[in-house]
Assembly symmetry: C2
Homo-oligomer: 588 residues x 2
């Protein structure tokens, strides 16, 4: 089991040199977010992730969480690590200052989050969910609800959860049955929720569940869903904890991976109904849930990147130590990293990871701009870009993460299949990321339905304009791969827009390949910009030349690979649609 080392140099490159933290810290509210503060936080965060969180990753997998007389018991060490996490102030890094957070931009939060997930994904799911709940309560909560819950959740003294899924209602939330009946100033919630991450834990004295439910007068479908705050223990007016609420942990799921994270079945209202408080307007719970969901989708994208980085580090270390045979073109036995195919795997891992890092952090930057740009038009443009990027980051970075964990395992050969090596855990853990918070198909449907088609391709065209600007600025001979990606994206987008009315099923069947194409394009664009930054840095002087040369070579390789991948995706989208539609599911 290898240790984790935070890739601080590349993180700093993306945040400071590629995306320009200084431009974010020029925005109102983010003045604190200086390059110096970033460096200090990064160093401290890396220390914590490497020394405290990472060593528990394997134990979390082996031991898992268990249910002991209705109470979840997490793996040894998790509880203490959580307390250290909270004591270090990490929980509130990007949370509102008014409730005790540090209010830092997502561009600074993203690398921290990457480190945590890479170090211990099962552990980090807990603060991930809490942050989403904080955002929802902060957005829509009454002053009373905010004051009652946010300070404890921002500090991490209490945690938060998302309660959406029911056995019959997964991707289809319209089917949910949990009911909420008004009673005085609150509601009584009754129903069963499944797949609740950290639905119970032994970290904190209280847990704040955000629960989707239907009011008695709710219209059918997704327009009749409301969102409720349901604490595990009721909170009294003086802030102290009162009675245990009527919510019970029924069981834990036995999962392929993330064993350290308790995935709960929760029963609300076995004893008459759990006390809950309406968040936002009645029947408008789904919009609100999407606030949490979008934050969580961004975070899960970062998670895909993180697990890829962790898996890559393990494979690289093994490839540097394991000696096997004489590599082609060499005279003596050497570490397997010198075998051409192993080098190809490692190079592809490196390139895709760096590209997804740029993409993920860029999405964080856009969240910040959408929040803080003083000019309304700029703010709206950033919001639109952020909306476009969310499904891409979630869908593309997590598919990359699963691919990377699988490819990294392959580097080890037979040793990769042995659990003690650790590579298998990364694959098992990574595998959930393309499923939860909306499967890749759900992301792709969002991208095509609500992003591409709804505005007639305007957001996508805006992105393509940015890509063209970069293309025009690239030195001659450097733009072939990016040009190919752009051409494929424009051709595929035009095809989907043209077909949407006549053949909607064809368009949505092409959504997943289209999402991958757009992921390559966006990340490829950022890698092309990275190459320009590296070229300028190399021209400016010898400092860090090895890093910049490597970045340049990596970007070139990525753009070649991306050009080929996008061409194939475009072919499959544009030409493959009728062949797919001609297949009859009844004959499968």
């Amino acid at each position: 089991m290898q240790e984790y080392r935070a890739p601080l140099r590349d993180m700093a490159f993306v945040v400071k040199e590629l995306l320009g933290l200084s431009r974010i810290s020029a925005l109102p509210g983010f003045e604190e977010a200086s390059d110096d503060l970033f460096d200090a936080i990064q160093e401290e965060c890396a220390r914590f992730a490497e020394a405290v969180m990472s060593p528990l990753n394997r134990a979390g997998d082996r031991e898992g969480a268990r249910l002991d007389e209705g109470q979840v018991v997490t793996a040894a060490g998790f509880r203490a690590a959580y307390q250290q996490f909270v004591a270090g102030g990490w929980n509130g890094l990007t949370c509102p200052v008014e409730y005790g957070g540090q209010g830092l931009p997502n561009l600074m939060g993203a690398p921290a989050e990457e480190m945590w997930h890479a170090a211990n994904m099962a552990f980090t799911l807990c603060p991930l969910l809490t942050r989403g709940a904080v955002e929802a309560i902060h957005t829509a909560g009454s002053p009373v609800l905010r004051q009652r819950f946010l300070p404890a959740m921002v500090s991490g003294r209490w945690t938060g959860t998302m309660n959406l899924t029911e056995p019959q209602a997964g991707s289809d939330l319209a089917a949910l049955r949990t009911r909420a009946v008004p009673e005085g100033d609150h509601y009584r919630i009754t129903g069963q929720k499944i797949f609740i991450t950290y639905g119970d834990q032994d970290f904190t004295e209280n847990i704040v569940h955000l629960v989707l439910a239907r009011l008695p007068d709710a219209p059918p479908g997704v327009k009749g869903i409301s969102l409720f705050v349901v604490p595990k223990f009721l909170v009294q007016e003086d802030g102290t904890l009162g009675a245990r609420n009527d919510v019970r942990t029924v069981s834990l799921e036995h999962k392929l991976g993330i064993h350290g994270s308790p995935t709960c079945v929760l029963a609300f209202g076995d004893a008459g109904g759990a006390e809950g408080y309406l968040l936002g307007e009645a029947h408008h719970g789904l919009e609100l849930m999407f606030i949490m969901m979008n934050a969580a989708r961004f975070s899960v994208g970062i998670q895909g990147l993180a697990i890829a980085e962790r898996a890559y580090q393990g494979a690289l270390q093994y490839a540097r130590e394991r000696i096997q045979g004489v590599p082609v073109g060499m005279a003596e036995r050497a570490p397997i990293q010198h075998h051409p195919d192993v080098k190809r795997m490692l190079a592809t891992l490196k390139a895709r990871i760096e590209a997804c890092r740029a993409l993920g952090y860029h999405a964080g930057e856009m969240l910040d701009r959408a929040h803080a740009e003083p000019d309304a038009a700029q703010r709206a443009r950033a919001q639109a870009r952020s909306d476009l990027l969310t499904p891409i980051v979630k869908g593309f970075c997590t598919e990359m993460g699963v691919w990377a964990a699988n490819e990294a395992l392959q580097v080890y050969g037979g040793m990769g299949y042995i659990e003690e090596t650790g590579a298998a855990q990364y694959l098992r853990d990574a595998r959930i990321t393309t499923i939860y918070e909306g499967t890749t198909a759900i992301q792709a449907n969002d991208l095509v339905g609500r992003k591409l088609l709804r505005d007639g391709g305007a957001m996508v065209a805006d992105l393509c304009r940015d890509v063209k600007e970069t293309l025009a600025a690239l030195p001659p001979g450097e733009g072939a791969g990016l040009a190919r990606m752009l051409e494929a994206a424009e051709r595929a987008s035009a095809c989907l827009l043209a077909t949407a009315t006549a053949h909607p099923a064809q368009v949505f069947a092409a959504a997943a390949p289209y999402l991958q194409l757009m992921g390559w394009l966006t990340s490829g664009w950022l890698m092309a910009r990275s190459a320009m930054v590296a070229t300028a840095a190399l021209a400016a002087g010898p400092a860090d030349a090895a890093f910049y040369r490597a970045k340049l070579a990596t970007a070139r390789f990525y753009l070649e690979q991306g050009g080929a991948a996008c061409t194939a995706a475009c072919m499959a989208i544009v030409e493959g649609a009728t062949a797919l539609e001609a297949m009859d599911v009844a004959s499968f």
Copy 2:
């Protein structure tokens, strides 16, 4: 956990209609292999796989094999199932008649093997290894060794193993250290072997290990390796078992999957040396081991196909039952198979599985021809094609199998991540297939180094000629995908041949994508031929029209997808090579 249903219709299509079993049964030695016998065996085999082997698959995973005071204990039910397997005569289906086998062609053995692996891959590894050992002893054993070991191994009364790997010698067998010292008419073997599949079990009273070791006068490297027969119990002249040999099971590996299959560390010679018998010539053990290995590679390719089929069946069943939301273009809530993206996943699974079935069985057909064609030139051509196909079948069908198990899990959404569903086991089991019996990179190096380059591209050109013949026979407008695949294959092959001397590292870095390209081409060619067979059948009459129409639609979809995939692979091979070489592993 869904049941397994053998896909008998498609199997019969490939064996009888596409590849033509009647042409194989026209070859000397295969006269028995009539279509009628095939039908009878298929039916019986399916019954056994579905009713006996499949129900144990989950228990094998949950319970696994364990080591109890030096003796492996397999999961409950495995031992009894093995005895039924042997009693049914299944073990010797394709084994030599003179030692009690049925001597049937591989074209008939391949579907049986697919069923067994699909039903219970961990179980079926045991007869897989035995068959390889039978082939090695049959090829190179003295009359005494053959008579002593083969009848019991062919019947399945004893099993066989392959002992290659040592901790320092995985892909690099030149590094192996196990020693064999002559003593009278036998040898004393000393050393440690790892990753020994069914290195011990409680199925049979004896186990016959084939062990690679070095003689005292062995030259260094792979040219100094000899192969020995080392039984667990010595066999006396009258055939009864004698003393326990000096081989000990040290431990079992804790693996990601195939828990039902005991993967052993074996210690030979703790008490002075295990008694072993030289197989074939001294120092020529590796060539001989490759006989076993090639048989095993073919079987593992079939395994990739098998696990894909099993995973697909589970996903399809779930997609037919699970109702979630209103699919695009429909008016009411419906099973998720009607959602365009789910349909895309299922269609792609179906197409790739059918294509790999055609490819895998075709490789079996070529093994039969290489063995039995009466004309020497025809036999040599079949042998060359078989040599070319072995790495392709192993590399392409197993990568497809891992992809399929992963994609099938995705169809379930969150339920796929829960172990009880069963989809996760298929992914965990499938994951070994791209590693053992030579990783995909090893297959790719074999394909490029020993197949493409060694004869200057002659074998590949011969295959391309066959593809062109099919292309010429396709109706107008049907050949675009296959033509694209062929063009990509010819362009990539020419590029690798032209670059080999000047840039060998570039060529071997492209080997894995090249193998995938050749897999698409070969399977695409067979799918194009399938389309022609289906078209002819539809023209001939209404019998089975739904099947043939589905086959035609599936082939068209596969050829579209394959054209895109091959184009991208060719781009990456031809244009991406220098960008990859420019990356420096020291900077990773």
